[in-house]
């Protein structure tokens, strides 16, 4: 290596470091360090606006196990994810298979189903509130028309969480649809033709023998992304129920907000963040495990 080359090498190293520096600084200051800071805060009794802070060991976590509102939030969040994810993936796949062969109206159907993904959830929660209104909501009107009795969807402890989960499905199904449509389009036509030659003539046979097995990776991806979004449910709860009635619709992110920024209990809020992080990591870990199985089998 000549001296000239060596100089340009070290110049490139310096230039590279300088170009990366501002971005790296922001990533560390706004993402990495805050994430690391949560751990010590979760073991402290820190309250926003109060001077003294002390480490209190596992106290926050012990309190969580005794806190009925937290236990409800944890349980409800898991139930919400377990309703929203399979329903979104299943409906998304079904709709994508229907839309894929729908001819001229294909673009229309795709656009219509995608609309909730880009719309403002806080505003749509207000709209859903009106749809679900017990006396003059659209849903109860429609139910009365077909001879069923309406319900008070958001004030009934047994109904409120499934109702919010349905809104969650409504919100995320369009994303699943476009991902599955992209996945379907990437299947080579020759494979489908081969299946038809082998006797898979009905759409159902085609879906079962060729399409579904090849959609494995897309399905894993849609499942994980829907699970991450469902875990972060906040807007509908904040706008429509505030976690009630009782704690029937309390969820982790809403409780995190209430404890940290209404009760100003930063330490306790950080402990809830740790639980939230554990659930997010469990989802990621599940993805890794399934990915490995798909790629090695």
């Amino acid at each position: 290596m000549s001296t000239g080359q060596r100089i340009s090498r070290s110049r490139e190293r310096l230039a590279g470091s300088l170009l990366a520096a501002p971005g790296l600084f922001l990533i560390i200051a706004l993402l990495i360090l805050p994430a690391l800071a949560i751990l010590p805060v979760a073991f402290s009794n820190w309250q926003f606006g109060r001077g003294q802070i002390a480490l209190v060991g596992w106290d926050n976590f012990l309190e969580l196990t005794q806190d009925r509102r937290f236990v409800a939030a944890l349980r409800n969040t898991i139930v919400y994810v377990l309703i929203v994810v399979p329903a979104t993936v299943g409906l998304g796949l079904l709709l994508a298979l229907l839309i894929d062969g729908s001819g001229k109206l294909q673009a229309f159907y795709r656009t219509a189903h995608f609309l909730p993904v880009v719309s403002t959830m806080a505003a749509m929660a207000v709209a859903w509130d009106a749809v679900l209104h017990p006396t003059f909501g659209l849903l109860n009107h429609a139910l009365t028309l077909i001879g069923l009795s309406g319900r008070n969807w958001l004030r009934d402890e047994a109904l409120v969480l499934p109702t919010l989960a349905c809104i969650g499905v409504w919100q995320s199904v369009g994303f699943a649809v476009i991902m599955f449509l992209a996945g379907l389009r990437s299947i080579p036509k020759s494979l489908i033709d081969a299946a038809i030659m082998d006797g898979a003539t009905s759409p159902l046979d085609k879906a079962r023998t060729v399409m579904l097995p090849l959609l494995g990776p897309v399905t894993v991806f849609v499942t994980v992304l829907t699970a991450k979004r469902a875990l972060a449910v906040f807007d509908t709860v904040y706008v429509m129920t505030g976690g009630g009635p009782g704690n029937a619709s309390e969820v982790l992110l809403h409780l995190l907000y209430v404890e940290s920024f209404e009760h100003l209990r930063a330490g306790y809020g950080a402990a809830i963040s740790i639980v939230y992080l554990a659930l997010a990591l469990a989802i990621l870990w599940g993805q890794r495990a399934i990915d490995r199985r798909i790629h090695y089998s």
Binding site: L24, I27, A29, I32, A37, G101, M124, A232, Y238
Partner: protein, 276 residues
């Protein structure tokens, strides 16, 4: 065409139309209620008659009872400045990671990936504290601070830059261009599809965000549209649906209009977000 395929086609479109109707129902109900006079919106039987005076009254109330135009302006300012920062800070680091050798490069790529996978919701407590210590709580800066950099944007640009041939950069170097001008005059003009995806994802995310603005600002005049609409929601307390529905419609309309105009761009952007 035999009877079998005809039935099948009929079932397919029947199911899709029902599904479309269900998906569209909150939008239609919101639009319908925003066109009705208050005394009729509260009744149990909805008349489909649209009343021009009521439309005018409802939308006028939505735009004047709270500073709705200000909310919309706040939303535009926050989206524009956030996106600008994400690109100005993101492009150089993405370029350095994709095309240059410098010490610790692999570690930095690792940090970007960790930042990408991190659920950002949990950072609220530390970020609130940072805003407090910087003395910026209740300001545009507070709303924008957590998103001045976007790991998604960095990662998308990094992936795209890696596909650009090194020869192009060498040629530009031989022509005497510095790295800074290579980024902005060679790489960025080539990255339009990626930049469009980043813009869509960033704008949709920021415009619709309720969680962080609810933490970061308390002054009404700084609120972005979703949070501002909540003020309206609390004021009306479920009695006067017309103006509230008008406000909700105004809040979500800009993105919906943009989506309908540029459907392909939006859908491709969300497909490209597969990196997460």
């Amino acid at each position: 065409m035999n009877a079998g395929t005809l039935t099948r086609r009929f079932t397919r479109h029947g199911l899709l139309l029902i599904s479309t109707l269900i998906v569209a129902s909150p939008f239609l109900w919101m639009a319908l209620l925003s066109c009705m006079p208050p005394e009729r919106a509260g009744q149990s039987v909805v008349s489909l008659q649209i009343d021009l005076a009521a439309i005018k009254a409802n939308y006028a109330a939505a735009l004047t009872e709270t500073p709705m135009p200000r909310f919309l302006l706040n939303g535009v300012i926050v989206c524009a400045l956030t996106l600008t920062s994400q690109i100005i800070v993101g492009a150089p680091i993405a370029f350095a990671l994709a095309k240059m050798h410098f010490p610790g490069r692999k570690l930095v790529v690792g940090l970007v990936v960790v930042a990408l996978l991190l659920p950002h919701e949990i950072l609220a407590v530390p970020l609130f504290f940072i805003c407090y210590r910087l003395g910026v709580l209740d300001s545009y800066t507070a709303i924008m601070l957590p998103n001045l950099i976007s790991p998604t944007a960095v990662f998308l640009l990094y992936q795209f830059f890696r596909t650009i041939p090194n020869d192009l950069i060498h040629a530009a170097r031989i022509d005497g261009m510095g790295y800074w001008s290579i980024i902005w005059r060679v790489m960025i003009p080539l990255s339009k599809p990626v930049l469009a995806a980043i813009a869509v994802l960033s704008i949709v995310g920021r415009w619709n965000d309720l969680y962080w603005p609810a933490i970061a600002v308390s002054s009404t005049e700084l609120m972005p549209p979703p949070l501002g609409m909540m003020v309206f929601h609390d004021q009306e307390a479920g009695t006067n649906y017309g103006p509230l529905m008008a406000a909700a419609l105004i809040t979500t309309a800009p993105l919906i209009v943009a989506f309908i105009i540029a459907q392909r761009k939006f859908i491709d952007s969300f497909t490209a977000s597969s990196v997460r």
